[in-house]
Symmetry: C2
Subunit: 391 residues, 2 copies
Amino acid sequence: MTAILRAGRRPAVRSGPIDEAFATLARRPEVISFAVGAPDPALLPVDTVAALAAEVLTEYGSTALQYGVTRGFPPLLEQARKLLSGRGIDCPVDRLHIATGGSGALHNLCMALLEPGAVVLVEAPTYGPAVKVFRSHGAQVREVGSDAEGMLPRALDAALADPDIAFVYLLPTFQNPTGRTMSADRRAAIADIVVRHGVLVVEDDVYTDLRYRGTPVPAFWSFAPDHTVYITSLSKTLAPALRIGIEVLPGELVDSVLALKQGIDMQTSAFAQAIAARFLAGPAAADHIDLLTKSYAAKLGTMTAALARHFPGEYRWTEPEGGMFLWLEGPTGLNTDALLGPALESGVAFLPGSAFFVEGAPNSAMRLSFAGAPVDRIDHGIELLARVCGA
Amino acid sequence: MTAILRAGRRPAVRSGPIDEAFATLARRPEVISFAVGAPDPALLPVDTVAALAAEVLTEYGSTALQYGVTRGFPPLLEQARKLLSGRGIDCPVDRLHIATGGSGALHNLCMALLEPGAVVLVEAPTYGPAVKVFRSHGAQVREVGSDAEGMLPRALDAALADPDIAFVYLLPTFQNPTGRTMSADRRAAIADIVVRHGVLVVEDDVYTDLRYRGTPVPAFWSFAPDHTVYITSLSKTLAPALRIGIEVLPGELVDSVLALKQGIDMQTSAFAQAIAARFLAGPAAADHIDLLTKSYAAKLGTMTAALARHFPGEYRWTEPEGGMFLWLEGPTGLNTDALLGPALESGVAFLPGSAFFVEGAPNSAMRLSFAGAPVDRIDHGIELLARVCGA
């Protein structure tokens, strides 16, 4: 049977622990899940989307169901421009592209930039599924030393000596998996280096509207606008199933990204884009983000209090100012890969730290999502987790 | 500025005449368009989709807005299985995948199968945008001699001597661009050859429900089920903007296609999939296809009558039994690339034959879509076209 696969196959890209966690959780809804970075289902705006869907079909009629423009549905492009301007990203609509989710934006960009042999630099730890995406395009992925603020400028400078670097992938704000935010000074230092080396940064910024305390830091884009592709999405603040991503591109990348988009999925759903445009244009977006930030802030507070209560001193965790995740590090020798089975057995789920490093070796860390689980189950979930850890 | 693009870029993939036609038509709605393969906007089921959207949000609640299963939304997988069974394609759900449109299915498959240097064999003429997709993955595309029934068995047999053939791309039913349908005998002959060579066929079958006369021919899949990837979509029979494609995979391809899907756009919109599932489960689908086939059959009849009236004997056209397109061939020496500008000027649009051949050289043919234009403008459009051709 394998005879039918005559051409070389892509480097094997297999399902990882995130997919397995989703599968297990789908079978066992009683498990308290700190595993996945999905919005709290109780907060998904079902009635709002129902109203918006009816409104856009009345307003736009068949245009909302037809093939559309590759770049994006014009009313959403305009709303995206305003949304980005509110984040200090001022750019014309002809530099924007509406993608099929943030993941669709990243994949489309990889189609334009990566060839076998190209190298992508990432933080350590970084968002594991992005590493799989880069590898699926034949790229090598290399970690650059990082601290509590993200990538280290000197380490990046040294790594950029390699001429095969295609881009540097950063999650500067409420990072997945650590929840940490890169300071403005660090952003400026990293920007200086990438501009000096003439290399591109891909800024993955999908949690930025979920800030619970502290002062917003300008997007990395604003420190190096000609050297940055900025990606955001509405999956965390509206609904994952609308699959709406927004991408800000340097001028020289626009044509190739849009030409490739036609071959990837022609265009992002005009229906979903019309719903998203109406959501952003009205008061619904601000109201909904207010609801999310209040709820998730309370969950984060509950989780850090529970960690302090149930975990002893040799455990450390990040205290993020926003987003969906914190990063728990246990004592040296703890193997969180080995703890995942027993944890699921006892009724709690997390993702082991290995999922967020390029080599994927077992380590003593884990990612905990505080956004998805009901607030009144978080303390018990952390208690179960502490028991499994032997803490 | 190009300094930021340090890695090798993909072979240049540029917008083609189809994209340009869309752009021109968007600016000039008064043009009678035979250019694009989009459903008649007057027939897009706006009220039906509005009702279905409201129903699925009531029935599934937040599940319709959340992240979902990579393979597809389970109720749609089940409806897809039934739809395919009605086409003689009996396969278990674990061989199916719900893609982001038919184009998403093809792209996802290319991610799994194509490497630079791989070769894809196509009919001549073939669907031009697919050629661009194959090239965007680094493949070479080669035409195989074809006649009024499609690819020629002997020519295919000879072409398959090359060990670098990744797959053979076929549009057996109501082909885009010619409208012709491959007979059952030809399908059997082609199937014998691909099975003997142990090579994969990709069957692109998105028009099959739009049959206006004649007897259905079994899908190519049923002649070589272990050697065929079957792709269909709901873009022509429900709505393009839902971006729903359905892919039937040989068992050995399922894991890699689904693992790559996670990196392409995570999963196809659960909201769109829920709407599609409900559409297929109820009477709406059959009713809507009945409406479409009646309307498009009348348009096809109007167009062929107009061609007979306005074009002289040295012009030939196909008489398709279904789909959206017919293929008009003029006398030797006619250059349809050169006629496109004057045609748009005079108020009618078509796509030149060059868009459907690998080399893209100007030729004497053109693709005419009869589905999109209002029926009462078709005769006048063909009359304008005849004048532009000097016919």
